[in-house]
């Protein structure tokens, strides 16, 4: 019964979403409050029904209901309890349900928050959000039904993809989809603003915290994805410029650009058209990513489930892009800037440059990802560009962005005087260059690392100086240092949250530079008792053991590691043999450290345990990525907290003077 109930719930939710969307739009046209109320009830109904779908699917997984194809394909009798729950979103069908579920939650929050405060925008927002929900529900009912029956019913399932049996899979997809769906809210407000013709700053002011929420979750999702790649996939890296990663990275880039350019619109009433374009682009890219990875048009190595899902996404993407840009064209006459650029040396142009580089980065990632398609269509040759392309093109762009990260927040609005520039940037610049020079003398030879270091120190110093000045100003009013700092962070939490995010990015940047420049690896075949050396570590192979787990066999190598100071640790990398898989899966073992990680991957081995091939990596500064990521998400969280009301309000265009 479960699958039939689930299917019925999905169909009912689809019908309700379509009805609610139409009713909400009609209520706005005719001003009928009863219809609006009915649309709100439909939104609640959609949420309840999608929740039912989720619950039924979880139930099917927990009870090993192999009559459901999706359950049989993604679990088996040996799958541990908690992975049976995460297996719900282990493949396409379930992740679409997760997507729809989160969208329905966002829709409910929008209903609860804005039904009274935004009487004009809100019905259209609801119509757009329910319309988008309807699309995902359509995908659940037609091309990717999670409740499809399997006949005959197999005695056991195929099992979850072993790579997904990891704690990261609990949080990674949830965070990523909360990020993706989160961008629906600002998109819906932007569309509503275009429809009713109130193209001012209103939609941006309302949705700015939503955008940070979406950005926070997307960042978190990317980070957990990197961590998963690092400790599960066993290649020792955290980012491969794989189409799946790029698909999530592109909306992050345009979303970041949007977060910055809205500040210009709030302050100077410029860039209205640009901001609308950015949010349309960001939302479209979240759809494009799913299309890209699910249609099978990209990725000769990575196998994705194929089917008509890709066509559905392509169709909807076309609809969204065409619809949104037509609305934009229709309202073009209302999108004139009220302010204008005064000088090249100003905060406005620093932000413009930031946007230019972020969008350029998104474009190059897009270009590199679809390059095989372009080339085949244009020249007829099958080619691709790999990680070297992305690195070569993006390193200069990101270095420029780091530089702007130091300039943007401190340079004066409108026109920066030479006095402003000298006061804010002279010391940081000198300190940055000095730091790089000291590191050069200490033996750091890599030019790219030195450049990155100089920039990072420059930016960190600007932030520190700015913070110190503001805290000193507060201290004059009688606060203690701690109170002054804390009060500042809370009082202007958006600004200082932003600074904390910047600091996090700086730490990540150093981690990337260091790990790219200094990581080292080697491979060797060792007899039992034999040792090898790498970067000060001595690794001895002590033998193989076998173990039987609930759903796989495991061959475990034991390696005793000592460093220069003596015995260090014992690492046990393994190979897991899943009966349903064609080949073993490597389970890496590692010892994380602040400056370097020791990372072991078991390769081929003799069946009698007499010798084994081992890949040893010493990955430098990778931990900085996770630390920086943590700082970054904390900063974003600080920026999300509602800002206390400021008194007195600043007149538009005025510059808050930081003494």
């Amino acid at each position: 019964m479960t699958p039939e109930l689930g299917y019925a719930a999905a169909v009912a939710a689809l019908v309700l979403a379509v009805y609610g969307s139409a009713a909400s739009a009609w209520s706005a046209v005719k001003g009928r409050a009863d219809l609006r109320l009915s649309a709100e009830r439909a939104a609640v109904g959609v949420w309840l029904l999608v929740l039912t779908c989720m619950a039924l699917l979880v139930y099917a997984f927990l009870t090993f209901d192999f009559s459901v194809r999706y359950v049989a394909g993604n679990t088996n009798l040996g799958t541990p309890f908690y992975y049976r729950i995460t297996a719900v979103w282990g493949a396409l069908e379930g992740s679409i349900i997760l997507w729809a579920f989160m969208l329905s939650i966002y829709t409910l929050i929008v209903v609860a928050r804005y039904r009274r405060t935004q009487p004009q925008l809100y019905p259209w927002v609801l119509a757009v959000m329910l319309g988008i929900s309807a699309f995902f529900l359509l995908v659940i009912t037609v091309p990717a039904p999670p409740f499809q029956r399997l006949s005959p019913i197999p005695p056991d399932g195929r099992g979850l993809n072993p790579l997904l049996e990891d704690s990261g899979m609990i949080t990674h997809p949830v965070a990523l989809y909360l990020g993706f769906t989160g961008f629906t809210v600002p998109f819906a407000f932007a569309m509503a603003a275009l429809i009713i013709g109130r193209t001012g700053d209103e939609w941006i002011t309302i949705t700015r915290r939503w955008t940070i929420v979406a950005w926070y979750f997307l960042s978190l999702g990317l980070l957990i994805g990197g961590w998963w790649s690092y400790h599960v996939l066993g290649w020792g890296g955290y980012w491969a410029w794989d189409p799946v990663e790029n698909a999530a990275f592109m909306p992050w880039l345009t979303g970041t650009a949007f977060l910055h350019s809205v500040m210009i619109q709030e302050r100077r009433r410029m860039l209205k058209l640009w901001n609308l374009t950015l949010i349309i682009l960001t939302f479209s890219l979240t759809l494009f990513g799913t299309f890209l990875t699910r249609s099978g048009i990209i990725g000769s190595v990575h196998a994705f489930s194929q089917g008509s899902v890709g066509q559905f996404f392509l169709g909807f993407l076309a609809l969204v892009v065409l619809g949104a840009f037509s609305l934009l064209a229709w309202r073009l006459d209302r999108l004139h800037a009220q302010g204008e650029l005064d000088s090249i040396v100003s905060r406005e142009s620093a932000f413009l440059l930031n946007n230019l580089f972020l969008v350029a980065a998104a474009f190059t990632v897009f270009f590199g990802t679809v390059f095989p398609l372009l080339s085949e269509a244009v020249k007829g040759t099958k080619v691709s560009v790999g990680a070297p392309f992305f690195n070569l093109v993006n390193i200069p762009i990101f270095l420029a962005l780091i530089f702007l990260m130091g300039v943007g927040p401190l340079i004066a609005w409108r026109r920066a005087s030479s006095e402003n520039l000298r006061r804010n940037f002279l010391r940081p610049l000198v300190i940055g260059i000095a730091a790089a020079a000291v590191c050069r003398l200490l033996g750091v030879a890599n030019a790219l690392v030195l450049l990155c270091l100089a920039l990072v120190v420059f930016v960190a110093t600007t932030i520190a100086l700015d913070f110190a000045r503001a805290a000193r100003a507060r201290r004059r009013t009688g606060d203690g240092w701690l109170e002054a700092t804390w009060g500042l962070a809370l009082r202007q939490n958006r600004r200082y949250g932003g600074f904390v995010v910047h600091l996090g990015i700086l730490v990540v940047a150093l981690g990337v530079a260091g790990s790219q420049a200094w990581s080292t690896q080697t491979e060797a075949t060792l007899d039992r008792g034999e040792s090898m050396e790498l970067a000060g570590y001595t690794i001895r192979f002590d033998g193989l053991q076998a173990a039987e787990e609930s759903n796989h066999f495991k061959v475990i190598g034991t390696f005793t590691v000592s460093d220069r100071k003596g015995p260090y640790t014992v690492l046990t990398p393994a190979k897991k043999f899943y009966p349903q898989e064609q080949s073993p899966i490597a389970a890496v073992d590692y010892r994380l450290g602040f400056m370097e990680d020791l990372y072991l991957v078991l390769g081929e081995f003799a069946r009698d345990g007499s010798h084994a091939t081992i890949k040893v990596q010493v990955n430098r500064m990778v931990s900085w990525l996770w630390i920086g990521g943590l700082v970054l998400t904390l900063g974003a969280a600080l920026a999300i907290v509602p800002e206390p009301r400021r008194t007195p309000a600043l007149p538009p265009g005025a510059q808050r003077v930081v003494a």
């Binding site: 196998a303 095989p372 080619v383 064609q582």
Partner: protein
Amino acid sequence: MSRKAKFLGGGLVIVAALAYLVYAGVSQSVVYFVTPTELGAAPVAGKSYRLGGMVLPGSLKWDPKALNLRFTLSDGQASVPVRHRGTPPDLFAEGRGAVVEGTWSRDGYFQASTILAKHSEEYKAPHDASQAGYKELLKTLKDPGGKP
């Protein structure tokens, strides 16, 4: 020069620089997808290729001590000798499909820097014959004589 022209000019310079960056990036890192037949017809030393084919049964030679891997990739018409330093990936085996990335060496073989074995997503019944292999493996390793 008006302010607007200055902004436009500056923007154009940056966009041009970015375009050059993309162009240089593509020309430096482009990888050509070829079959053994295509590669055999016109191999260019130093150019990056991604070569796909089947690992010819009987051609696989793996020297664990020296970490040397040699095999032949074939598409049924032509075959290309491939050399690689390092462990073969988990999915790699004779008679299976594999994709290698690397360059053509002047000495008449393909030097692979990476091997990407191809996953097939087809449904496989869990308790099939390959299980016996694992069981046997488990036994040898659990055998007290096999322990250090």
